[in-house]
Symmetry: C2
Subunit: 156 residues, 2 copies
């Protein structure tokens, strides 16, 4: 699990340059989700608070990282894209911030992996909150689609 | 109008560093909206397509820039934040991309400015599309809230 996390960190650093510019760090996995952290300074807007686009990007990435790690843990060679998302910015983010993915329910995960193994394709909706030092400020939901690469062993 | 555009460009460059890292440029106003452009290279993901978070950030910013310019044109000293948004990523973005704001309907604009002048606060929903060289790939809707700063002259 630790090496999956390190592989993920390396992937972001080398293959997604914008995450480096935003200072986004994969902190740890917790409860089935992922925790990302980013500094205010690199993502600040003209009001001295965090740019909404950076908050959304961090939440989007947190969901994607969670799916990426889930696939590795289940030994599935698949790719993941986000299909759609919605977000509510409840108040400005005034300090460094964290994006935290809520752990998907067990039956959601079961259906997700069953679909991938049966049909080579699965979809999962993830909830992400973004918090600064005062607490949760942003509520995000994103739907992620996974497709397995050709030649992957399946159980069908 | 040209000087408003240049002021906006300067504001992004100096006060929102992440827009510089993403290479986002304010190209021009058109039909009541704003056109932004960004390079794939600065926003690329591990698949060689544009990171969804960058696409969302560019669309979010395009809406915000549109409201910022509308306020200047109407001589309103107000600040604008995004309240919520939703986005659908219809397909991957495979080249440099543009975010284009649809011009709001005339009656929508009338209600928006009326509310700001009467109550010091207004809300407007904007549609933004993001396109690469093959056409539109992302559909975004965002609601932006404007509040006037204390001491601003109003017509009430």
């Amino acid at each position: 699990m630790r090496s999956d996390l390190n592989n993920l960190r390396g992937k972001l650093r080398t293959e997604m340059p914008v995450t480096r510019h935003m200072g986004i760090r994969v902190v740890r996995q917790q409860g089935g989700g992922v925790l990302l952290r980013a500094p205010l300074a690199a993502n600040v807007n003209h009001k001295g608070t965090a740019f909404a686009g950076s908050l959304n990007a961090t939440a989007t990435l947190a969901g994607w990282c969670t799916v990426w790690l889930l696939l590795r843990e289940h030994n599935i060679d698949g790719h993941c894209v986000i299909q759609d998302s919605s977000v509510r910015y409840a108040r400005p983010v005034c300090s460094d911030f964290e994006a935290r993915v809520e752990a998907p329910a067990e039956d959601v995960l079961t259906r997700f992996f069953h679909s991938i193994r049966r049909r080579g394709r699965g979809r999962i909706e993830l909830s992400v909150t973004v918090a600064d030092r005062r607490g949760v400020a942003v509520h995000f939901r994103g739907r992620y689609v996974v497709g397995t690469d050709p030649g992957v062993a399946r159980d069908t």
